[in-house]
């Protein structure tokens, strides 16, 4: 027995803060994680990284590249959502105008969070095929409340990465 150690207390789980970098064209995003990584984190980062590397004209119709600012705004929105740790990662969908959309379509839940090329955020969500739909022009407190009600139902399943 090692002197001074208390065996029972060794069973505590350490919570060491970890930093996960995601390079941008200029600078980088650094995600600070405390506790177990949410299931959606790494697939979402992978998707963000992929859309960042889309070249000019990526969709054969003059699709614009996705700016660092748009990616950063999407990341900021993602980590502040009330998204369960077990939720699937969103689909990360680029738009021709240099926009990004974070989408979940599963278990009757449809959520689309649109980040425009100038960083404005708007939200569309519905809870079932026949249920009410909500649209918010900004990610304000009302939008967050609705998102909280809807996203809590996302767990398990397989997310789709773009």
């Amino acid at each position: 027995m090692l002197a001074g150690w208390h065996p029972l207390l060794m069973d505590e789980i350490d919570i060491v803060e970890r930093r996960v970098p995601l390079p941008l064209r200029n600078g980088r995003l650094v995600f600070t994680v405390v506790g177990p990584e949410p299931r959606w984190l790494y697939p979402a980062l992978h998707s963000l990284q992929r859309v960042m590397h889309l070249p000019e004209g990526w969709d054969s119709y003059g699709g614009k590249i996705i700016d660092d600012d748009v990616v950063a705004r999407a990341a900021e929105v993602l980590v502040t959502l009330p998204l369960p740790a077990e939720a699937p990662a969103p689909s990360v969908v680029p738009g021709s105008a240099g926009s990004l959309q974070l989408e979940w379509h599963e278990a009757g839940v449809d959520v689309e969070i649109h980040i425009s090329a100038i960083g404005q955020v708007s939200v569309f969500l519905s809870e079932s095929e026949s249920g009410p739909e909500f649209e918010f022009e900004t990610l304000d407190s009302d939008a967050r409340v609705r998102l909280g009600e809807v996203l809590v139902g996302l767990h398990g399943g397989v997310g789709v990465s773009h």
Partner: protein, 257 residues
């Protein structure tokens, strides 16, 4: 041996000012090198918290870590926007391994010099949020036949494979264990013990790398809090070294002292 202090990044401590800080140490540390920055780490305790993720944007390029080296390379100061580290390294110089008190005093003097420099540049003083003390031991591990001796000869944390049937001595071993250390029931920090098979660069003789690191928050305000944690960390590292190493290792260590 290394003493490290981590603090929230000092806003205007850019690469130019980091380079300027070298002037304060250049007489004693005439060589400078650039390295990738150290990663911030915070030891936390308590019941598992729900996952928490934050994101921040960092400029490019990330501010470097600078090494200021003494002429013989045994002493090293490392500075970056959110870390200050003082190292003593055992190289093939014949210089005796210093005692903790000596390294502590040297660290204190260098860190105070660094803080004075920050003040002269109109920058805020560091507010340490983590302190770290590290001891590294390279245990020569060639047995009588010149091959690698089993780890259990030196380290009690490793039970070895005495009952492994036909398996030979492992070619390499690597593991890490960690312990929370406390004062009463109050957690003070975490002790990490790492063991890894390596070889001496000069002659490729086998060795075991034994590293003990104690990390935690300062035990009080300012420099006093930093030193209090260091002293506590030193006590736990000495206890750990004594507890996890064998009598044979203790004899080798005493002969080297």
């Amino acid at each position: 041996m290394a003493v490290s202090v981590q603090f929230p990044a000092i806003e205007k401590l850019d690469p130019a000012r980091l380079g300027l800080s070298w002037q304060k140490f250049r007489g004693e540390f005439p060589e400078v090198k650039s390295q990738p920055p150290l990663v911030r780490q915070i030891e936390r305790f308590g019941p598992p918290a729900p996952s928490k993720v934050d994101v921040e944007i960092e400029e490019i390029p990330p501010a470097p870590r600078l090494w200021f080296l003494s002429k013989d390379g045994t002493r090293l100061i490392q500075v970056q926007r959110d870390h200050f580290v003082y190292n003593w390294r055992k190289l093939d110089t014949g210089v005796a391994y210093p005692h903790y008190d000596e390294v502590r005093a040297q660290f204190l003097q260098k860190f105070e010099t660094f803080v004075l420099f920050l003040g002269e540049e109109g920058l805020s003083a560091p507010q340490p949020d983590q302190v770290e003390l590290t001891y590294v031991n390279h245990i020569p591990a060639n047995d009588e036949s010149g091959t690698r001796a089993p780890l259990e000869r030196y380290v009690r944390l490793w039970a070895g494979l005495s009952d492994a049937g036909e398996l030979p001595t492992p070619e390499s071993v690597a593991f890490q264990s960690q312990f929370a250390f406390r004062r009463g029931t109050t957690p003070l920090g975490r002790l990490y013990i790492q063991v890894q098979s390596r070889i001496f660069r000069a002659d490729t003789r086998p060795l075991y790398h034994l590293q003990l690191t104690a990390r935690g928050a300062p035990l009080g305000e300012g420099l006093g809090g930093v030193l209090s944690f260091l002293d506590e960390a030193h006590v736990w590292i000495v206890r750990a070294f004594t507890s996890v190493t064998t009598e044979e290792m203790h004899s080798v260590w005493q002969r080297r002292q």
